[in-house]
């Protein structure tokens, strides 16, 4: 079992996997966006794994990743799938349940 598997047990509160396709525009934007969230709002509470489907075919197949970028929020449960370059910050924050955390 690797970190690119949702059932991998992390000690942190958040476990995220971002699937990208090389350095394509949307993938690059998504990398920047998720890094910002992990370094700020989720600093110290987040395990992030980035999988490049162009290099790791099997990871895409195992997780049924059809589009890139795809963000799997494995933890906290339930598991949530976010697709897109994560530029819609509001939606990403809501998917991560960040409003609830702050209130």
């Amino acid at each position: 079992m690797s970190k690119s598997d949702c059932s991998f047990n992390t000690s942190t509160q958040y476990h995220l996997i971002l699937f990208v396709a090389g350095n394509g525009p949307n993938s690059s934007i998504a990398r920047v966006n998720i890094a910002g969230i992990c370094e700020n709002e989720l600093a110290g509470r987040c395990t992030l794994t980035i999988v490049d489907v162009l290099k790791d075919f099997s990871a895409a197949a195992e997780n049924n990743i059809l589009v890139t970028p795809t963000l799997l929020i494995c933890k906290p449960e339930p598991e949530v799938t976010v697709i897109g370059n994560l530029s819609d910050h509001e939606k990403v924050r809501r998917a991560l349940n960040l409003e609830a955390l702050q209130s």
């Binding site: 396709a21 795809t70 976010v82």
Partner: protein, 496 residues
């Protein structure tokens, strides 16, 4: 630059076709002149229930049986449903999956996925490439690709993504089939696809007079010849079966060999019996003895050790055997003991014309029949309107001729005056021999008589002969005594 295998020397009359991947689906490669374009994309569109998925799966399945690994990606149905449907069509995908010759994947984006910005379908490509590397698959089906693409919610993005996918699959040298839904009016979800693909097939079904007919239309095939027009197909227990309506060629028969009509006198009148491998039509009104004549032929053939397929559109096998007993023909041994006679009883309305044709042709081949009796072809008028009965009979004659099978068709006509003109279906030009039967009145008695109207390649009798049916059999003889009027008014026509 033109690849070597496509280069045709200047001035050469030889027309070379692009490389193909045979579908091995019965009849389809004949229509596509060899199969799907190798390493290219074929679009398979059609309305619901026309068998797009079955056809695409059968391509992979039959290929896998021959050693070509295939990948089936379903965007709509779950993998286990795809497997179950394939099983229902006589395929066993699980066994091939175990050998990694076939892989069925249900690819789906979770319905509750959140969209947060732009994305591409690269994951799908990665998945395809991953599987292809693992199994060496060069054949791929993307089933209901529109289901995936709808996630883009933008026609322009859908088009871009499909274009990218097609190009990439082509670069990978994949022989690809895209199945796409179409509206019943033939309206397409992705009209642009027809321009992008090398081969475009359209499946259609319609129901006329409560009989369902399915048709394939090849709309485009870049770099290849194909059978144009609508090509009928059916779902059978062994998968899809296409029955190409090619230019029907009725080749000249070798006229030398004869088979007995079962009646000695009739053999004399026809110049030695029916011509082997030819088609004989027995025309006449109800109750005149058409079935008896056809059965005499069948009985004689079985007695010689030959096999006869008797297609009975009128009665059950029991009724036929029973009624033939009353004229001294015991068909039971041939039917039960010797297995030389097979009776196929069918209601014309019970199935579409393709199903009937397939069943008869399959029986003919499986049973290795020497002869075929169809009693009565007039029932074919109940299979459908327009050209349907004619097409059915024409194709049946073609199939029989290709196998060297002698056909005896009975045809019931309503009015005697149409005797010589051949009523109804209009296949008289396709048959080799026409024998007409009719009633006439002599000395206040209703009698039967027979005349050979046409017999290709034979010096045949041109006179009426009296036909007598009794419990000892059929008898043909000269008409004695003074003839009176026939009940119809066709006498002048006939005796010309």
């Amino acid at each position: 630059m033109c690849p070597n295998n496509l280069r045709v020397p200047a001035g050469s009359l030889e027309k070379r076709s692009i490389p193909k991947a045979p579908s091995s689906i019965r009849g389809l490669d004949e229509i596509l002149k060899g199969g799907f374009p190798l390493g290219r994309t074929t679009i398979l569109s059609g309305t619901a229930g026309t068998g797009k998925t079955v056809m695409a799966m059968e391509f992979l399945y039959r290929g896998a049986l021959e050693g070509h690994a295939g990948l089936f990606i379903s965007f709509e149905e779950r993998a286990r449903d795809v497997r179950a449907n394939a099983c229902a069509m006589g395929m066993d995908p699980a066994a091939l999956e175990e050998q990694s010759k076939l892989r069925i994947i249900h690819a789906e984006i979770p319905a509750d996925a959140i969209k947060a910005g732009d994305f591409e379908a690269r994951g799908l490509l990665a998945m395809i490439e991953g599987h292809a590397q693992l199994t060496g698959a060069k054949r791929i089906v993307l089933d209901a690709v529109d289901s995936l693409m709808s996630i883009f919610e933008d026609p322009r993005r859908e088009r871009e993504e499909i274009g990218f996918l097609l190009n990439r699959l082509r670069d990978l040298g994949m022989t690809t089939i895209f199945t796409v839904k179409a509206e019943s009016g033939g309206l397409k979800i992705y009209p642009f696809l027809d321009f992008m693909a090398d081969c475009v097939l359209f499946l259609d079904q319609r129901i006329e007079e409560q009989i369902r007919t399915r048709r394939l239309n090849v709309l485009k095939y870049r770099g290849s010849d194909f059978l144009s027009n609508e090509q009928p197909y059916v779902f059978s227990a062994e998968g899809l079966v296409f029955m190409p309506v090619s230019s029907m060629s009725l080749e000249q028969l070798p006229l030398a060999e004869r088979v007995s009509s079962g009646i000695h006198k009739l053999n004399q009148l026809t110049g030695g019996g029916y011509i082997k491998g030819s088609c004989v039509l027995l025309n006449g009104p109800s109750g005149i003895g058409k079935t008896s004549l056809a059965s005499s032929f069948a009985h004689a053939a079985c007695s010689r050790g030959e096999k006869v397929l008797y297609v009975n559109f009128e009665t059950s096998p029991e009724t036929l055997v029973g009624s033939m007993q009353s004229i001294g023909l015991d068909m039971r041994p041939a039917l039960d003991t010797d297995s030389r006679l097979r009776i196929l009883s069918a209601m014309p309305e019970s199935a579409g014309v393709e199903e009937h044709l397939l069943r008869i042709v399959d029986e003919m081949s499986g049973f290795s029949a020497h002869h075929l009796v169809v009693d009565a072809i007039s029932a074919c008028l109940r299979m459908g309107s327009g050209r349907v009965p004619f097409d059915f009979l024409a194709r049946l004659i073609t199939e029989s001729r290709a196998r060297g099978v002698t056909c005896v068709f009975t045809n019931q006509i309503r009015n005697q005056e149409y005797l010589t003109r051949m009523s109804g279906i209009g296949i008289s030009s396709l048959v080799d021999t026409i024998i007409a039967l009719e009633y006439f009145i002599q000395e206040q008695e209703l009698k039967r008589r027979l005349i050979i109207i046409k017999s290709r390649g034979s010096d045949h009798s041109k006179q009426f002969h009296q036909l007598e049916l009794s419990h000892t059999g059929l008898r043909l003889g000269r008409i004695t005594g003074r003839e009176s009027e026939s009940p119809g008014s066709g006498q002048e026509d006939i005796s010309q």
